[in-house]
């Protein structure tokens, strides 16, 4: 079984067009969630980077907002990568919850080719744009789609099916998604505050990320995708199980696969949406997993819940933090309001950060855990 390493990556959110800009913004307490004209963190290319807006005007091609964002972040990741997208030993994996759903909106100036409302057609458009000869793998697994894509890529590489994987995730804010979460009364009127005692809902955000994985150990202290697992609460299709049992299974299975114990974990990048129930459930799961003393953070207070992108971009930012031996802060957090005993901080920490556990949960009762480990 081949090991799977992180080779390169890129992130596009309302905070910035690349990882460094996003990372620095997070450390400085940036927040792209604008709740005045829109309850969410939208990407505005011209606002975050005039260059990007000019470079990616795509005047000649009929392309959707999501496709544009995906292409930008994949190009950025590939620009400093030695992986060739046209190589048959490279596979593309695309994670999205709603794809080009804005195609169903009553009014939409970006109406793309109607076929690309189908997620696999959109994925094929993206992988073909980069000249990849393989049919891409498309994952639609609610809010853990990004982590499921990483889990699937790990299987494909370690089983020797492919040498490299370009794992991308993205979603846009649409009337469809906004209406839906609002109908569930899940959206906060202010930027979300994961794990905080005053939290009252999530903020939607849009983002894209591209994570390039490979079986080649190319650099010192390269980050490994060491272990992963998914599970189901088997409880309710939209509410998380109160005892965190499903998430606990995913956490323990991913740590087992990574051959690590709780004391080895140096940081936890949680799902932390800012809803009363999700954050409560997660805190209980972390305590039950004996992870109470490990620094845990959620990034959703900085750019919102980015759905199909979340698992990818939050993993990437956590991996970037591991390389810099920084433990990221939890956005929007002031005082804990969960019953699980966990260690959340609003401040970042300079500390050896060799093993990060990334978790996620989603509609349908699904959960996932991925362990990223520095190869030392």
């Amino acid at each position: 079984m081949k090991s799977v390493f992180v080779e390169n990556y890129s992130v596009l959110t309302g905070l910035g067009c690349n990882v460094e800009d996003n990372f620095n913004s997070i450390l400085a307490g940036g927040c792209s969630i604008n709740t005045e004209d829109f309850h969410g963190g939208k990407i505005s290319l011209s606002r975050i980077n005039n260059d990007a807006a000019d470079r990616y005007s795509f005047k000649d091609v009929n392309i959707s907002r999501l496709e544009k964002h995906l292409i930008i972040s994949i190009e950025d990741a590939l620009s400093s990568s030695s992986v060739y997208p046209e190589d048959p030993s490279t596979i593309f994996l695309i994670s999205t919850t709603k794809g080009n759903i804005d195609n169903l909106d009553a009014v939409n100036p970006f109406k793309t080719d109607a076929r690309r409302i189908r997620l696999h057609e959109m994925a094929l458009f993206i992988s073909s744009y980069f000249g990849n000869p393989n049919r891409p793998v498309t994952i639609c697994n609610a809010c853990i789609s990004g982590l499921s894509a990483i889990i699937t890529a790990k299987y494909l590489i370690s089983a020797g099916k492919f040498k490299n994987a370009v794992v991308c995730g993205g979603d846009i804010i649409s009337d469809f998604v906004m209406s839906g979460f609002s109908s569930l009364k899940a959206v906060s009127g202010e930027p979300s505050r994961p794990f905080d005692e005053t939290r009252n809902g999530l903020s939607l955000g849009e983002a894209c990320g591209a994570l390039i994985l490979t079986n080649e150990n190319k650099a010192e202290e390269q980050i490994l995708v060491a272990g992963c697992a998914s599970s189901n609460d088997a409880n309710h299709i939209s509410g998380p199980s109160r005892d965190g049992g499903g998430l606990l299974l995913a956490i323990e299975a991913s740590m087992r696969e990574a051959s690590i114990c709780v004391d080895d974990v140096t940081s936890i990048s949680a799902h932390g949406t800012g809803t009363v129930f999700n954050d409560e459930m997660e805190s209980i799961a972390f305590e039950r997993a004996s992870l109470s003393d490990i620094p845990v953070y959620s990034l959703k207070g900085f750019f919102g819940h980015t759905l199909g992108a979340a698992g990818i971009i939050e993993s990437i930012l956590s991996i970037h933090a591991m390389k810099k031996n920084i433990i990221l802060p939890s956005g929007g957090f002031v005082k804990p309001g969960i019953s699980g005993n966990i260690s959340v901080s609003a401040e970042h920490l300079y500390s050896q950060n060799n093993i990060c556990l990334k978790t996620g949960s989603g509609f349908g009762g699904c959960n996932a855990g991925v362990v990223f480990k520095k190869n030392v």
Partner: protein, 85 residues
Amino acid sequence: MEDLIVKLKGEIIEQLNFEDLTVDDIDTDAPLFGPDGLGLDSIDALELILILEKKYQIKITEADDGRSILKSVRTMSDFIMKKKA
């Protein structure tokens, strides 16, 4: 009042997809939530609020006690009567 109760029961059956229930099967005063009544969950609660908005143009605000209003068919119809008066 009885007409409203019958109408409301019909709307609950339709909106919440209770295929095997008839209006006569729903006890007006039985709790809608919990094991003793229809066993509704949190999504059903939101759908009941949607019935009030869609069919009766009544919005439940932060000031209203949602739990008491949605306790039974009786409490729901009392609330509708009060708001319409």
